[in-house]
Point group: C3
Protein backbone atom coordinates (compact mmCIF):
# COMPACT_ATOMS: atom_id res chain seq x y z
CA UNK A 1 0.00 0.00 0.00
CA UNK A 2 1.46 3.37 -0.99
CA UNK A 3 1.32 6.43 1.25
CA UNK A 4 -1.80 7.85 -0.42
CA UNK A 5 -3.64 4.57 0.08
CA UNK A 6 -2.53 4.40 3.69
CA UNK A 7 -3.78 7.95 4.27
CA UNK A 8 -7.17 7.08 2.82
CA UNK A 9 -7.47 4.09 5.13
CA UNK A 10 -6.46 6.17 8.16
CA UNK A 11 -8.86 8.92 7.12
CA UNK A 12 -11.77 6.50 6.96
CA UNK A 13 -10.71 4.90 10.25
CA UNK A 14 -10.72 8.37 11.86
CA UNK A 15 -14.11 9.10 10.32
CA UNK A 16 -15.41 5.81 11.72
CA UNK A 17 -14.09 6.56 15.21
CA UNK A 18 -15.57 10.06 15.18
CA UNK A 19 -18.91 8.68 13.98
CA UNK A 20 -18.92 6.07 16.75
CA UNK A 21 -18.28 8.74 19.38
CA UNK A 22 -21.21 10.76 18.02
CA UNK A 23 -23.54 7.77 17.79
CA UNK A 24 -22.79 6.63 21.34
CA UNK A 25 -23.44 10.13 22.73
CA UNK A 26 -26.70 10.42 20.75
CA UNK A 27 -27.86 6.97 21.85
CA UNK A 28 -27.17 7.76 25.50
CA UNK A 29 -29.24 10.92 25.09
CA UNK A 30 -32.26 8.89 23.97
CA UNK A 31 -32.41 10.04 20.35
CA UNK A 32 -34.17 7.90 17.75
CA UNK A 33 -32.43 5.92 14.98
CA UNK A 34 -32.48 8.80 12.60
CA UNK A 35 -31.13 11.21 15.18
CA UNK A 36 -28.26 8.83 15.93
CA UNK A 37 -27.41 8.69 12.22
CA UNK A 38 -27.54 12.48 11.87
CA UNK A 39 -25.25 13.01 14.86
CA UNK A 40 -22.84 10.29 13.71
CA UNK A 41 -22.54 11.93 10.31
CA UNK A 42 -22.27 15.44 11.79
CA UNK A 43 -19.42 14.47 14.09
CA UNK A 44 -17.58 12.60 11.36
CA UNK A 45 -17.94 15.26 8.66
CA UNK A 46 -18.94 18.52 10.38
CA UNK A 47 -15.41 19.87 10.83
CA UNK A 48 -14.41 19.12 7.25
CA UNK A 49 -17.59 20.72 5.90
CA UNK A 50 -16.93 23.98 7.76
CA UNK A 51 -13.31 23.93 6.51
CA UNK A 52 -14.44 23.41 2.92
CA UNK A 53 -16.95 26.27 3.17
CA UNK A 54 -14.19 28.55 4.49
CA UNK A 55 -11.78 27.77 1.66
CA UNK A 56 -14.46 27.82 -1.03
CA UNK A 57 -14.27 24.09 -1.82
CA UNK A 58 -17.99 23.62 -2.51
CA UNK A 59 -19.77 21.34 -2.32
CA UNK A 60 -17.84 20.05 0.71
CA UNK A 61 -16.12 16.68 0.35
CA UNK A 62 -18.15 15.34 3.29
CA UNK A 63 -21.27 15.67 1.14
CA UNK A 64 -19.89 14.54 -2.23
CA UNK A 65 -17.79 11.52 -1.28
CA UNK A 66 -20.07 8.54 -0.61
CA UNK A 67 -17.43 6.79 1.50
CA UNK A 68 -17.76 9.25 4.40
CA UNK A 69 -21.53 8.87 4.51
CA UNK A 70 -21.26 5.09 4.27
CA UNK A 71 -18.69 4.81 7.04
CA UNK A 72 -20.76 7.09 9.29
CA UNK A 73 -23.92 5.06 8.64
CA UNK A 74 -22.13 1.78 9.41
CA UNK A 75 -20.91 3.27 12.68
CA UNK A 76 -24.44 4.46 13.54
CA UNK A 77 -26.07 1.13 12.74
CA UNK A 78 -23.44 -0.75 14.75
CA UNK A 79 -24.06 1.52 17.71
CA UNK A 80 -27.83 1.12 17.48
CA UNK A 81 -27.80 -2.63 16.97
CA UNK A 82 -24.99 -3.57 19.31
CA UNK A 83 -24.55 -0.90 21.92
CA UNK A 84 -22.79 -3.11 24.42
CA UNK A 85 -20.40 -4.43 21.80
CA UNK A 86 -19.47 -0.85 20.99
CA UNK A 87 -18.94 -0.18 24.70
CA UNK A 88 -16.53 -3.10 24.80
CA UNK A 89 -14.74 -1.48 21.86
CA UNK A 90 -14.06 1.65 23.95
CA UNK A 91 -10.33 1.16 23.92
CA UNK A 92 -9.87 0.82 20.15
CA UNK A 93 -12.36 3.65 19.63
CA UNK A 94 -10.27 5.97 21.81
CA UNK A 95 -7.22 4.91 19.85
CA UNK A 96 -8.78 5.70 16.47
CA UNK A 97 -10.38 8.86 17.77
CA UNK A 98 -6.94 10.14 18.78
CA UNK A 99 -5.60 9.03 15.41
CA UNK A 100 -8.51 10.78 13.66
CA UNK A 101 -7.81 13.95 15.59
CA UNK A 102 -4.21 14.06 14.44
CA UNK A 103 -5.06 13.06 10.90
CA UNK A 104 -7.87 15.58 10.49
CA UNK A 105 -5.70 18.37 11.92
CA UNK A 106 -2.91 17.58 9.46
CA UNK A 107 -5.03 16.95 6.36
CA UNK A 108 -7.22 19.96 7.15
CA UNK A 109 -4.18 22.23 7.28
CA UNK A 110 -2.77 20.62 4.10
CA UNK A 111 -5.99 21.17 2.16
CA UNK A 112 -6.02 24.88 3.06
CA UNK A 113 -2.38 25.19 1.92
CA UNK A 114 -3.16 23.35 -1.34
CA UNK A 115 -5.95 25.85 -1.99
CA UNK A 116 -3.30 28.58 -1.73
CA UNK A 117 -4.24 30.11 1.61
CA UNK A 118 -1.79 31.52 4.13
CA UNK A 119 -0.27 29.81 7.15
CA UNK A 120 -2.70 31.32 9.67
CA UNK A 121 -5.72 30.10 7.70
CA UNK A 122 -4.15 26.65 7.39
CA UNK A 123 -3.48 26.29 11.12
CA UNK A 124 -6.92 27.59 12.14
CA UNK A 125 -8.71 25.36 9.64
CA UNK A 126 -6.63 22.36 10.65
CA UNK A 127 -7.97 22.81 14.18
CA UNK A 128 -11.51 23.41 12.87
CA UNK A 129 -11.38 20.22 10.80
CA UNK A 130 -10.23 18.20 13.78
CA UNK A 131 -12.57 19.56 16.46
CA UNK A 132 -15.53 20.98 14.50
CA UNK A 133 -17.45 17.73 14.47
CA UNK A 134 -17.20 17.37 18.24
CA UNK A 135 -18.40 20.93 18.73
CA UNK A 136 -21.41 20.30 16.46
CA UNK A 137 -22.20 17.11 18.41
CA UNK A 138 -22.19 18.92 21.75
CA UNK A 139 -24.18 21.91 20.46
CA UNK A 140 -26.86 19.57 19.05
CA UNK A 141 -26.93 17.55 22.27
CA UNK A 142 -27.28 20.82 24.19
CA UNK A 143 -24.15 20.90 26.30
CA UNK A 144 -21.01 23.02 26.52
CA UNK A 145 -18.51 21.48 24.09
CA UNK A 146 -16.21 19.21 26.09
CA UNK A 147 -13.26 20.28 23.98
CA UNK A 148 -13.54 23.76 25.49
CA UNK A 149 -13.33 22.33 28.98
CA UNK A 150 -10.39 20.68 30.64
CA UNK A 151 -9.13 18.02 28.26
CA UNK A 152 -6.17 18.29 25.93
CA UNK A 153 -8.02 17.92 22.65
CA UNK A 154 -8.17 21.07 20.57
CA UNK A 155 -4.75 22.01 21.88
CA UNK A 156 -3.32 18.73 20.57
CA UNK A 157 -4.93 19.46 17.19
CA UNK A 158 -3.38 22.93 17.26
CA UNK A 159 0.08 21.46 17.85
CA UNK A 160 -0.39 19.01 14.97
CA UNK A 161 -1.59 21.67 12.54
CA UNK A 162 1.22 24.02 13.62
CA UNK A 163 3.93 21.40 12.97
CA UNK A 164 2.49 20.63 9.54
CA UNK A 165 2.28 24.29 8.48
CA UNK A 166 5.56 25.46 10.00
CA UNK A 167 7.29 22.41 8.48
CA UNK A 168 5.86 23.22 5.07
CA UNK A 169 7.10 26.82 5.35
CA UNK A 170 10.55 25.64 6.44
CA UNK A 171 10.68 23.28 3.48
CA UNK A 172 10.67 19.99 5.41
CA UNK A 173 10.02 16.93 3.30
CA UNK A 174 6.29 16.45 2.88
CA UNK A 175 5.89 12.91 4.16
CA UNK A 176 8.28 13.39 7.08
CA UNK A 177 6.54 16.47 8.44
CA UNK A 178 3.12 14.91 8.01
CA UNK A 179 3.98 11.77 9.92
CA UNK A 180 5.72 13.79 12.61
CA UNK A 181 2.76 16.18 13.02
CA UNK A 182 0.32 13.28 13.10
CA UNK A 183 2.40 11.39 15.64
CA UNK A 184 2.85 14.34 18.01
CA UNK A 185 -0.86 15.22 17.98
CA UNK A 186 -1.86 11.59 18.47
CA UNK A 187 0.65 11.07 21.26
CA UNK A 188 -0.35 14.25 23.09
CA UNK A 189 -4.02 13.30 23.02
CA UNK A 190 -3.55 9.65 23.80
CA UNK A 191 -1.12 10.20 26.65
CA UNK A 192 -3.25 12.99 28.10
CA UNK A 193 -6.17 10.57 28.31
CA UNK A 194 -4.04 7.84 29.84
CA UNK A 195 -2.38 10.05 32.45
CA UNK A 196 -5.27 12.49 32.86
CA UNK A 197 -3.36 15.58 31.83
CA UNK A 198 -5.58 18.65 31.75
CA UNK A 199 -5.18 22.27 30.91
CA UNK A 200 -5.76 24.46 33.98
CA UNK A 201 -9.06 26.28 34.23
CA UNK A 202 -8.80 29.92 33.34
CA UNK A 203 -10.43 30.93 36.61
CA UNK A 204 -8.05 28.85 38.79
CA UNK A 205 -5.14 30.63 37.23
CA UNK A 206 -6.86 33.93 37.72
CA UNK A 207 -7.43 33.21 41.41
CA UNK A 208 -3.84 32.40 42.12
CA UNK A 209 -2.02 34.91 39.97
CA UNK A 210 -4.05 38.07 39.70
CA UNK A 211 -4.43 40.54 42.50
CA UNK B 1 -51.94 29.44 -12.46
CA UNK B 2 -49.10 27.46 -14.05
CA UNK B 3 -46.99 24.97 -12.15
CA UNK B 4 -44.20 27.46 -11.47
CA UNK B 5 -46.68 29.93 -10.01
CA UNK B 6 -48.24 27.22 -7.88
CA UNK B 7 -44.83 26.21 -6.58
CA UNK B 8 -44.04 29.79 -5.61
CA UNK B 9 -47.29 30.04 -3.67
CA UNK B 10 -46.64 26.73 -1.91
CA UNK B 11 -43.06 27.77 -1.17
CA UNK B 12 -44.23 30.98 0.49
CA UNK B 13 -46.96 29.10 2.37
CA UNK B 14 -44.32 26.68 3.67
CA UNK B 15 -42.07 29.59 4.63
CA UNK B 16 -44.99 31.18 6.48
CA UNK B 17 -45.78 27.98 8.38
CA UNK B 18 -42.12 27.48 9.34
CA UNK B 19 -41.90 31.10 10.48
CA UNK B 20 -45.04 30.72 12.61
CA UNK B 21 -43.63 27.61 14.29
CA UNK B 22 -40.44 29.53 15.10
CA UNK B 23 -42.27 32.62 16.33
CA UNK B 24 -44.58 30.63 18.60
CA UNK B 25 -41.63 28.75 20.16
CA UNK B 26 -39.71 32.02 20.68
CA UNK B 27 -42.73 33.76 22.20
CA UNK B 28 -43.31 30.89 24.62
CA UNK B 29 -39.67 31.16 25.66
CA UNK B 30 -40.16 34.80 26.65
CA UNK B 31 -38.02 36.43 23.96
CA UNK B 32 -38.58 40.07 23.02
CA UNK B 33 -40.13 41.26 19.74
CA UNK B 34 -36.85 41.35 17.96
CA UNK B 35 -35.89 37.89 19.16
CA UNK B 36 -39.20 36.52 17.89
CA UNK B 37 -38.52 38.05 14.47
CA UNK B 38 -34.98 36.66 14.34
CA UNK B 39 -36.14 33.15 15.25
CA UNK B 40 -39.06 33.30 12.78
CA UNK B 41 -36.70 34.27 9.98
CA UNK B 42 -34.08 31.70 11.01
CA UNK B 43 -36.55 28.82 10.98
CA UNK B 44 -38.06 29.89 7.67
CA UNK B 45 -34.77 30.49 5.84
CA UNK B 46 -32.02 28.79 7.87
CA UNK B 47 -32.12 25.47 6.03
CA UNK B 48 -32.08 27.10 2.60
CA UNK B 49 -29.20 29.37 3.57
CA UNK B 50 -27.03 26.44 4.67
CA UNK B 51 -27.92 24.61 1.41
CA UNK B 52 -26.97 27.64 -0.68
CA UNK B 53 -23.64 28.00 1.14
CA UNK B 54 -22.90 24.31 0.48
CA UNK B 55 -23.60 24.54 -3.27
CA UNK B 56 -21.88 27.91 -3.67
CA UNK B 57 -25.06 29.87 -4.47
CA UNK B 58 -24.03 33.08 -2.68
CA UNK B 59 -25.53 35.24 -1.44
CA UNK B 60 -28.22 32.76 -0.31
CA UNK B 61 -31.72 33.25 -1.73
CA UNK B 62 -33.09 33.61 1.81
CA UNK B 63 -31.11 36.85 2.10
CA UNK B 64 -31.60 38.26 -1.41
CA UNK B 65 -35.30 37.60 -2.04
CA UNK B 66 -37.40 40.14 -0.13
CA UNK B 67 -40.47 37.88 -0.18
CA UNK B 68 -38.99 35.40 2.32
CA UNK B 69 -38.10 38.15 4.77
CA UNK B 70 -41.52 39.77 4.36
CA UNK B 71 -43.43 36.54 4.89
CA UNK B 72 -41.34 35.73 7.97
CA UNK B 73 -41.92 39.21 9.41
CA UNK B 74 -45.68 38.98 8.83
CA UNK B 75 -45.70 35.64 10.64
CA UNK B 76 -43.69 37.10 13.54
CA UNK B 77 -45.91 40.17 13.89
CA UNK B 78 -49.07 38.04 13.77
CA UNK B 79 -47.68 35.81 16.51
CA UNK B 80 -46.70 38.77 18.69
CA UNK B 81 -49.94 40.70 18.21
CA UNK B 82 -52.40 37.85 18.24
CA UNK B 83 -50.92 34.90 20.06
CA UNK B 84 -54.21 33.26 20.85
CA UNK B 85 -55.43 33.62 17.28
CA UNK B 86 -52.29 31.82 16.13
CA UNK B 87 -52.93 29.11 18.69
CA UNK B 88 -56.40 28.63 17.23
CA UNK B 89 -54.70 28.29 13.83
CA UNK B 90 -52.71 25.29 15.10
CA UNK B 91 -54.41 22.88 12.73
CA UNK B 92 -53.76 24.80 9.50
CA UNK B 93 -50.24 25.60 10.71
CA UNK B 94 -49.49 21.90 11.13
CA UNK B 95 -50.90 21.32 7.67
CA UNK B 96 -48.69 23.94 6.03
CA UNK B 97 -45.69 22.93 8.11
CA UNK B 98 -45.98 19.39 6.75
CA UNK B 99 -46.44 20.82 3.27
CA UNK B 100 -43.41 23.06 3.75
CA UNK B 101 -41.35 20.09 4.88
CA UNK B 102 -42.13 18.16 1.71
CA UNK B 103 -41.72 21.17 -0.51
CA UNK B 104 -38.39 22.26 0.96
CA UNK B 105 -37.03 18.68 0.76
CA UNK B 106 -37.97 18.46 -2.92
CA UNK B 107 -36.93 21.95 -4.01
CA UNK B 108 -33.72 21.73 -1.96
CA UNK B 109 -32.75 18.51 -3.75
CA UNK B 110 -33.73 20.02 -7.13
CA UNK B 111 -31.61 23.12 -6.61
CA UNK B 112 -28.54 20.99 -5.84
CA UNK B 113 -29.14 18.93 -9.01
CA UNK B 114 -29.60 22.10 -11.08
CA UNK B 115 -26.24 23.32 -9.79
CA UNK B 116 -24.76 20.12 -11.21
CA UNK B 117 -24.02 18.24 -8.00
CA UNK B 118 -24.29 14.49 -7.54
CA UNK B 119 -27.21 12.49 -6.17
CA UNK B 120 -25.78 12.14 -2.68
CA UNK B 121 -25.28 15.89 -2.34
CA UNK B 122 -28.82 16.48 -3.61
CA UNK B 123 -30.44 14.08 -1.13
CA UNK B 124 -28.42 15.36 1.84
CA UNK B 125 -29.08 19.00 0.99
CA UNK B 126 -32.79 18.30 0.43
CA UNK B 127 -32.94 17.08 4.03
CA UNK B 128 -30.84 20.02 5.24
CA UNK B 129 -33.15 22.50 3.49
CA UNK B 130 -36.20 20.92 5.06
CA UNK B 131 -34.98 20.47 8.62
CA UNK B 132 -32.15 23.01 8.98
CA UNK B 133 -34.43 25.80 10.11
CA UNK B 134 -35.92 23.71 12.88
CA UNK B 135 -32.45 22.71 14.08
CA UNK B 136 -31.36 26.36 14.19
CA UNK B 137 -34.52 27.24 16.15
CA UNK B 138 -33.88 24.58 18.77
CA UNK B 139 -30.17 25.36 19.08
CA UNK B 140 -30.95 29.06 19.61
CA UNK B 141 -33.67 28.21 22.12
CA UNK B 142 -31.17 25.96 23.90
CA UNK B 143 -32.76 22.53 23.58
CA UNK B 144 -31.97 19.26 21.82
CA UNK B 145 -33.48 19.57 18.32
CA UNK B 146 -36.87 17.84 18.40
CA UNK B 147 -36.30 16.47 14.92
CA UNK B 148 -33.51 14.29 16.31
CA UNK B 149 -35.85 12.84 18.88
CA UNK B 150 -38.80 10.56 18.33
CA UNK B 151 -40.91 12.17 15.63
CA UNK B 152 -41.00 11.27 11.96
CA UNK B 153 -39.77 14.54 10.57
CA UNK B 154 -36.28 14.42 9.10
CA UNK B 155 -36.96 10.86 7.99
CA UNK B 156 -40.02 12.05 6.00
CA UNK B 157 -37.83 14.73 4.41
CA UNK B 158 -35.26 12.06 3.54
CA UNK B 159 -37.91 9.95 1.80
CA UNK B 160 -39.13 12.98 -0.19
CA UNK B 161 -35.63 14.01 -1.27
CA UNK B 162 -34.77 10.40 -2.18
CA UNK B 163 -37.84 10.01 -4.42
CA UNK B 164 -37.06 13.27 -6.20
CA UNK B 165 -33.41 12.39 -6.82
CA UNK B 166 -33.90 8.73 -7.70
CA UNK B 167 -36.78 9.71 -10.00
CA UNK B 168 -34.58 12.24 -11.74
CA UNK B 169 -31.86 9.63 -12.24
CA UNK B 170 -34.39 7.11 -13.58
CA UNK B 171 -35.71 9.71 -16.02
CA UNK B 172 -39.19 10.11 -14.53
CA UNK B 173 -41.11 13.09 -15.83
CA UNK B 174 -40.17 16.16 -13.83
CA UNK B 175 -43.59 17.28 -12.64
CA UNK B 176 -44.81 13.77 -11.86
CA UNK B 177 -41.85 12.86 -9.66
CA UNK B 178 -41.95 16.21 -7.87
CA UNK B 179 -45.62 15.93 -6.96
CA UNK B 180 -45.17 12.32 -5.93
CA UNK B 181 -42.15 13.12 -3.72
CA UNK B 182 -43.96 16.07 -2.18
CA UNK B 183 -47.08 14.02 -1.54
CA UNK B 184 -45.27 11.09 0.09
CA UNK B 185 -43.23 13.32 2.40
CA UNK B 186 -46.29 15.36 3.35
CA UNK B 187 -48.43 12.27 3.94
CA UNK B 188 -45.76 10.54 6.04
CA UNK B 189 -45.35 13.57 8.27
CA UNK B 190 -49.00 14.45 8.52
CA UNK B 191 -50.18 10.89 9.23
CA UNK B 192 -47.37 10.34 11.74
CA UNK B 193 -48.61 13.37 13.68
CA UNK B 194 -52.21 12.24 13.52
CA UNK B 195 -51.56 8.65 14.54
CA UNK B 196 -48.52 9.37 16.73
CA UNK B 197 -46.10 7.22 14.75
CA UNK B 198 -42.60 7.44 16.13
CA UNK B 199 -39.22 6.03 15.28
CA UNK B 200 -37.94 3.79 18.06
CA UNK B 201 -35.26 5.17 20.35
CA UNK B 202 -31.82 3.83 19.56
CA UNK B 203 -31.33 2.72 23.13
CA UNK B 204 -34.64 0.77 23.33
CA UNK B 205 -33.58 -1.21 20.32
CA UNK B 206 -30.16 -1.73 21.81
CA UNK B 207 -31.67 -3.04 25.05
CA UNK B 208 -33.83 -5.62 23.36
CA UNK B 209 -31.56 -6.83 20.60
CA UNK B 210 -27.96 -6.66 21.70
CA UNK B 211 -26.45 -8.96 24.23
CA UNK C 1 -4.51 59.87 11.16
CA UNK C 2 -6.78 59.68 8.11
CA UNK C 3 -10.29 58.25 8.19
CA UNK C 4 -9.18 54.81 6.98
CA UNK C 5 -6.56 54.60 9.72
CA UNK C 6 -9.10 55.73 12.31
CA UNK C 7 -11.52 53.04 11.15
CA UNK C 8 -8.86 50.36 11.45
CA UNK C 9 -8.12 51.43 15.00
CA UNK C 10 -11.82 51.46 15.91
CA UNK C 11 -12.28 48.07 14.23
CA UNK C 12 -9.50 46.54 16.30
CA UNK C 13 -10.82 48.24 19.45
CA UNK C 14 -14.25 46.72 18.77
CA UNK C 15 -12.66 43.32 18.13
CA UNK C 16 -10.80 43.63 21.43
CA UNK C 17 -13.96 44.55 23.35
CA UNK C 18 -15.90 41.66 21.79
CA UNK C 19 -13.05 39.26 22.58
CA UNK C 20 -12.95 40.45 26.21
CA UNK C 21 -16.69 39.88 26.58
CA UNK C 22 -16.29 36.35 25.24
CA UNK C 23 -13.25 35.58 27.38
CA UNK C 24 -14.92 36.81 30.57
CA UNK C 25 -18.04 34.70 29.89
CA UNK C 26 -15.91 31.63 29.14
CA UNK C 27 -13.79 32.13 32.24
CA UNK C 28 -16.86 32.45 34.45
CA UNK C 29 -18.13 29.19 32.98
CA UNK C 30 -14.99 27.38 34.10
CA UNK C 31 -13.47 26.67 30.68
CA UNK C 32 -9.75 25.99 30.34
CA UNK C 33 -7.21 28.38 28.78
CA UNK C 34 -7.71 27.04 25.34
CA UNK C 35 -11.49 27.22 25.62
CA UNK C 36 -11.24 30.86 26.70
CA UNK C 37 -9.12 31.62 23.64
CA UNK C 38 -11.51 29.83 21.30
CA UNK C 39 -14.52 31.68 22.69
CA UNK C 40 -12.70 35.03 22.62
CA UNK C 41 -11.81 34.52 18.96
CA UNK C 42 -15.30 33.23 18.07
CA UNK C 43 -17.03 36.24 19.58
CA UNK C 44 -14.61 38.69 17.97
CA UNK C 45 -14.65 37.14 14.50
CA UNK C 46 -17.69 34.82 14.30
CA UNK C 47 -20.10 37.39 12.89
CA UNK C 48 -17.66 38.56 10.23
CA UNK C 49 -16.87 34.99 9.21
CA UNK C 50 -20.54 34.16 8.65
CA UNK C 51 -20.94 37.39 6.65
CA UNK C 52 -17.94 36.57 4.48
CA UNK C 53 -19.25 33.07 3.79
CA UNK C 54 -22.62 34.53 2.75
CA UNK C 55 -21.10 37.02 0.30
CA UNK C 56 -18.55 34.55 -1.06
CA UNK C 57 -15.50 36.34 0.37
CA UNK C 58 -13.48 33.23 1.16
CA UNK C 59 -11.40 32.63 3.09
CA UNK C 60 -13.06 34.97 5.63
CA UNK C 61 -11.04 38.00 6.73
CA UNK C 62 -11.28 36.82 10.35
CA UNK C 63 -9.10 33.85 9.37
CA UNK C 64 -6.66 35.54 6.98
CA UNK C 65 -5.84 38.78 8.80
CA UNK C 66 -3.40 38.07 11.64
CA UNK C 67 -4.39 41.24 13.50
CA UNK C 68 -7.82 39.90 14.48
CA UNK C 69 -6.35 36.70 15.85
CA UNK C 70 -3.64 38.60 17.70
CA UNK C 71 -6.05 41.07 19.28
CA UNK C 72 -8.37 38.25 20.36
CA UNK C 73 -5.47 36.30 21.89
CA UNK C 74 -4.25 39.37 23.79
CA UNK C 75 -7.76 39.85 25.17
CA UNK C 76 -7.97 36.18 26.18
CA UNK C 77 -4.56 36.19 27.89
CA UNK C 78 -5.38 39.41 29.75
CA UNK C 79 -8.64 37.89 30.97
CA UNK C 80 -6.95 34.68 32.09
CA UNK C 81 -4.00 36.35 33.79
CA UNK C 82 -5.74 39.33 35.31
CA UNK C 83 -9.41 38.58 35.72
CA UNK C 84 -10.02 41.16 38.41
CA UNK C 85 -8.26 43.86 36.41
CA UNK C 86 -10.57 43.10 33.52
CA UNK C 87 -13.54 43.30 35.87
CA UNK C 88 -12.38 46.77 36.89
CA UNK C 89 -12.28 47.62 33.20
CA UNK C 90 -16.01 46.87 32.89
CA UNK C 91 -16.90 50.43 32.08
CA UNK C 92 -14.45 50.93 29.21
CA UNK C 93 -15.28 47.43 27.94
CA UNK C 94 -18.97 48.32 27.73
CA UNK C 95 -18.02 51.49 25.92
CA UNK C 96 -15.92 49.69 23.31
CA UNK C 97 -18.42 46.86 23.02
CA UNK C 98 -21.12 49.40 22.08
CA UNK C 99 -18.68 51.04 19.71
CA UNK C 100 -17.81 47.65 18.19
CA UNK C 101 -21.49 46.88 17.72
CA UNK C 102 -22.05 50.05 15.73
CA UNK C 103 -18.84 49.68 13.79
CA UNK C 104 -19.40 46.04 12.86
CA UNK C 105 -23.00 46.77 11.79
CA UNK C 106 -21.84 49.60 9.52
CA UNK C 107 -18.73 47.93 8.07
CA UNK C 108 -20.60 44.63 7.63
CA UNK C 109 -23.29 46.37 5.58
CA UNK C 110 -20.65 48.29 3.60
CA UNK C 111 -18.73 45.14 2.70
CA UNK C 112 -21.89 43.48 1.34
CA UNK C 113 -22.61 46.60 -0.77
CA UNK C 114 -19.02 46.67 -2.04
CA UNK C 115 -19.42 43.05 -3.16
CA UNK C 116 -22.38 44.22 -5.23
CA UNK C 117 -25.24 42.75 -3.23
CA UNK C 118 -28.64 44.34 -2.75
CA UNK C 119 -29.86 46.50 0.12
CA UNK C 120 -31.67 43.70 1.93
CA UNK C 121 -28.56 41.51 1.94
CA UNK C 122 -26.48 44.44 3.19
CA UNK C 123 -28.80 45.24 6.10
CA UNK C 124 -29.19 41.61 7.15
CA UNK C 125 -25.46 40.94 6.96
CA UNK C 126 -24.70 44.16 8.85
CA UNK C 127 -26.77 42.79 11.72
CA UNK C 128 -25.18 39.34 11.38
CA UNK C 129 -21.68 40.84 11.52
CA UNK C 130 -22.53 42.80 14.64
CA UNK C 131 -24.37 40.16 16.63
CA UNK C 132 -23.16 36.84 15.15
CA UNK C 133 -20.20 36.58 17.50
CA UNK C 134 -22.40 37.00 20.57
CA UNK C 135 -24.80 34.36 19.30
CA UNK C 136 -21.92 31.91 18.75
CA UNK C 137 -20.64 32.65 22.27
CA UNK C 138 -24.01 31.91 23.86
CA UNK C 139 -24.64 28.78 21.78
CA UNK C 140 -21.21 27.39 22.75
CA UNK C 141 -21.79 28.29 26.40
CA UNK C 142 -25.16 26.53 26.15
CA UNK C 143 -27.62 29.34 26.87
CA UNK C 144 -30.30 31.22 24.94
CA UNK C 145 -28.50 34.11 23.19
CA UNK C 146 -28.95 37.20 25.35
CA UNK C 147 -29.36 39.34 22.26
CA UNK C 148 -32.66 37.57 21.56
CA UNK C 149 -33.92 38.44 25.01
CA UNK C 150 -34.80 41.81 26.40
CA UNK C 151 -31.87 44.07 25.67
CA UNK C 152 -31.58 46.58 22.87
CA UNK C 153 -28.65 45.04 21.05
CA UNK C 154 -29.50 43.48 17.71
CA UNK C 155 -32.13 46.15 17.22
CA UNK C 156 -29.47 48.88 17.62
CA UNK C 157 -27.33 47.05 15.05
CA UNK C 158 -30.34 46.92 12.71
CA UNK C 159 -30.83 50.68 13.00
CA UNK C 160 -27.15 51.30 12.29
CA UNK C 161 -27.08 49.01 9.25
CA UNK C 162 -30.34 50.52 7.94
CA UNK C 163 -29.02 54.08 8.13
CA UNK C 164 -25.83 53.08 6.31
CA UNK C 165 -27.65 51.26 3.51
CA UNK C 166 -30.53 53.72 3.08
CA UNK C 167 -28.02 56.60 3.13
CA UNK C 168 -25.95 54.91 0.44
CA UNK C 169 -29.07 54.43 -1.73
CA UNK C 170 -30.10 58.07 -1.20
CA UNK C 171 -26.62 59.22 -2.22
CA UNK C 172 -25.53 60.66 1.14
CA UNK C 173 -21.83 61.40 1.39
CA UNK C 174 -19.97 58.26 2.39
CA UNK C 175 -18.17 59.50 5.49
CA UNK C 176 -21.16 61.47 6.81
CA UNK C 177 -23.60 58.57 6.66
CA UNK C 178 -21.08 56.16 8.15
CA UNK C 179 -20.36 58.35 11.15
CA UNK C 180 -24.05 59.06 11.62
CA UNK C 181 -25.00 55.36 11.45
CA UNK C 182 -22.20 54.44 13.83
CA UNK C 183 -23.17 57.19 16.26
CA UNK C 184 -26.88 56.29 16.33
CA UNK C 185 -26.23 52.58 16.87
CA UNK C 186 -23.66 53.30 19.58
CA UNK C 187 -25.89 55.83 21.32
CA UNK C 188 -28.93 53.54 21.26
CA UNK C 189 -26.99 50.67 22.77
CA UNK C 190 -25.07 52.72 25.29
CA UNK C 191 -28.08 54.70 26.51
CA UNK C 192 -30.23 51.57 26.68
CA UNK C 193 -27.66 50.01 29.03
CA UNK C 194 -27.43 53.16 31.15
CA UNK C 195 -31.18 53.70 31.47
CA UNK C 196 -32.17 50.02 31.26
CA UNK C 197 -34.32 50.36 28.18
CA UNK C 198 -35.71 47.03 27.03
CA UNK C 199 -37.85 45.80 24.22
CA UNK C 200 -41.11 44.34 25.53
CA UNK C 201 -41.44 40.57 25.64
CA UNK C 202 -43.55 39.21 22.84
CA UNK C 203 -45.73 37.35 25.30
CA UNK C 204 -46.41 40.44 27.48
CA UNK C 205 -47.68 42.24 24.46
CA UNK C 206 -49.72 39.23 23.49
CA UNK C 207 -51.29 39.06 26.94
CA UNK C 208 -52.38 42.66 26.94
CA UNK C 209 -53.39 43.20 23.35
CA UNK C 210 -54.74 39.97 21.89
CA UNK C 211 -58.12 38.61 22.74
Amino acid sequence: MNQHGLFTVLDLAGTFAFAISGAVAARNRGLDWFGVMVIAFSVACGGGIVRDLCIGAVPPAGLTDWRYLTVAMVAAVMTIAAGSLVTRLAHPVTFFDSLGLGLFAVTGAQKALIYGHNAEVAVLLGVVTAVGGGVVRDVLLNRVPVILQREIYASAALVGALIEVVGERLGWMSSARTWFALFVCFALRYLSLRYKWNLPRASDYGKKHSD
